[in-house]
């Protein structure tokens, strides 16, 4: 199993386990909130239940919104691509010979050089005319090898699933960090596949070099930087040095994620303050230790994860201004 696949499996496992704990918490708290709506807040446990439920509603909304946004963006993209699609230029036909990509490549008229893989169950590769004109045959073939890797791995589908979980589980911010690492690792593995299939690194390096923007300071962070390197810089380092990238998870996110899950488990165990055990303990210990403390941890993780989720939105707003 490749490294990106391992990270994806860990991320998915963590996401499913977290979802199960948080769903159990939600089911525990719903009856309490129903009572709260009927009779108003009577004690701290009522307030905690309402607060946690609010976090859950935000998570569910964020997840669904992310899913919807990605589906709409894909539909809009496909409509645009169809409108600008042209017949495959002979250079693309030649470069794609023997790559088993028949009927899976689209060339669209666009002044900007780009290529990407899109659609979910049966992905396709899109190349712009500017890219086709800028690259020679070997470089074009290297790009096609790179994209073929994404196509065969159904990376667009993996990404949409991973983004849905990362947004919905914003109280477990480490999921979002694993997604970032997975995205970068996928690019690196696609590059490695292109180098392996091309027989040397030159064609891919040359293609990448020809596509660099003229400006040194273009930074939009569409993909997520790892430590101080941008994604492209990390890819270049990988091509030059070939050292595997370390997984750079922020200790704050790891601690907050672990804390949030333990907190959620504690809240489930004491049924949000309605369990017999909770009621037999002295309120001086039980309320801060088993109710307010865990809820505060959940809120702290939610703030950190919420800021993570807002980052692409602010970047997109910045990109449009």
């Amino acid at each position: 199993m490749k490294r990106a696949d391992r990270v994806f499996t860990i991320m998915l496992g963590l996401a499913l386990a977290s979802s199960a704990i948080l769903l159990a918490l939600l089911l525990t708290l719903v009856p309490r909130v129903e009572q709260l709506v009927g009779r108003g807040a009577e004690d701290t446990a009522d307030v905690v239940a309402a607060g946690v439920l609010l976090l859950a509603v935000c998570g569910i909304s964020l997840g669904l919104l992310t899913l919807l946004r990605q589906l709409v963006a894909t539909a809009v993209l496909i409509r645009k691509l169809v409108a600008q699609k042209i017949a495959l230029p002979p250079s693309v036909v030649t470069a794609a010979t023997g790559l088993d990509l028949h009927g899976r490549i689209d060339v669209v008229f666009d002044e900007r050089p780009f290529s990407f893989c899109y659609w979910f169950l049966r992905p396709r590769i899109c190349l712009s005319t500017a890219l086709v004109e800028r690259l020679d045959s070997d470089e074009l073939r290297a790009v096609l090898y790179h994209e073929r890797y994404h196509l065969r791995q159904r990376d667009p589908l993996r990404q949409i699933v991973a983004r849905y979980f990362a947004a919905g589980l914003y109280v477990v911010p480490v999921v979002d960090e694993l997604l970032s690492f997975h995205t970068l690792q996928k690019e690196i593995e696609a590059d490695q596949e292109a180098v392996r299939a091309s027989g040397d690194v030159r064609s891919l390096a040359s293609a990448l070099y020809k596509l660099l923007p003229d400006a040194d300071d273009v930074s939009l962070g569409l993909l997520v930087p790892v430590s101080s390197l941008s994604v492209t810089e990390a890819r270049i380092e990988q091509l030059v040095v070939g050292r595997p990238l370390p997984i750079a998870l922020s200790p704050v996110s790891v601690v907050l994620s672990g804390g949030a899950l333990v907190a959620a488990a504690v809240l489930v165990a004491v049924k949000g303050g309605a369990s017999v055990v909770f009621e037999t303990l002295p309120p001086l210990y039980a309320v801060p230790g088993l109710l307010v403390g865990p809820a505060s941890l959940l809120f702290a993780a939610a703030i950190d994860g919420g800021l993570h989720q807002l980052r692409p939105l602010t970047q997109r707003l910045f990109a449009q201004t």
Partner: protein, 141 residues
């Protein structure tokens, strides 16, 4: 399969807006060379290769001023125009605008992009990539 004539295809409206027209490009090229000029100067300059009406050139220069590409100061009865940015700065801005447009348009959907166009790359990494791109293929085998 015959090669499609890309120039004859209709450009998407948005992409068209991102570039200067041929006449605008010519006027900008002359202004970058001269650093400052009046409409009359440019008309005379252009007259060596093509004949254009004074009002045509004036309209183009006013449009370039409105786009923020030219600054102008009044000297007597005429305006003197200067480029707002050097040619390199203009190229860098254009590149940035293209990238921003790409992100705004494709955003989430272009999930697995060959994303060099979309990223920061410092001088050291550019140089390393150039060396790698120019590497003799015999060395890599």
């Amino acid at each position: 399969m015959s090669r499609p004539d890309l120039r004859r295809l209709r450009r998407p409206e948005k992409a068209e807006e991102k570039f200067l027209g041929p006449l605008e490009t010519e006027v900008m090229a002359r202004l970058w060379k001269r650093r400052s000029a009046t409409v009359r100067d440019i008309v005379e300059d252009l007259a060596r290769t093509r004949e254009l009406a004074y009002t045509t050139v004036m309209t183009i220069m006013v449009r370039l001023h409105e786009k923020g590409l030219l600054e102008r100061t009044r000297e007597g009865k005429t305006y003197v125009y200067r480029p707002s940015h050097t040619r390199d700065e203009h190229r860098a801005r254009l590149s940035r605008d293209l990238v921003r447009g790409l992100v705004a348009e494709f955003g989430d959907a272009a999930l697995a992009a060959f994303s060099a166009e979309l990223d920061t790359v410092d001088a050291t990494h550019r140089a390393a990539l150039r060396r790698l791109a120019q590497k003799d293929t015999r060395e890599t085998r």
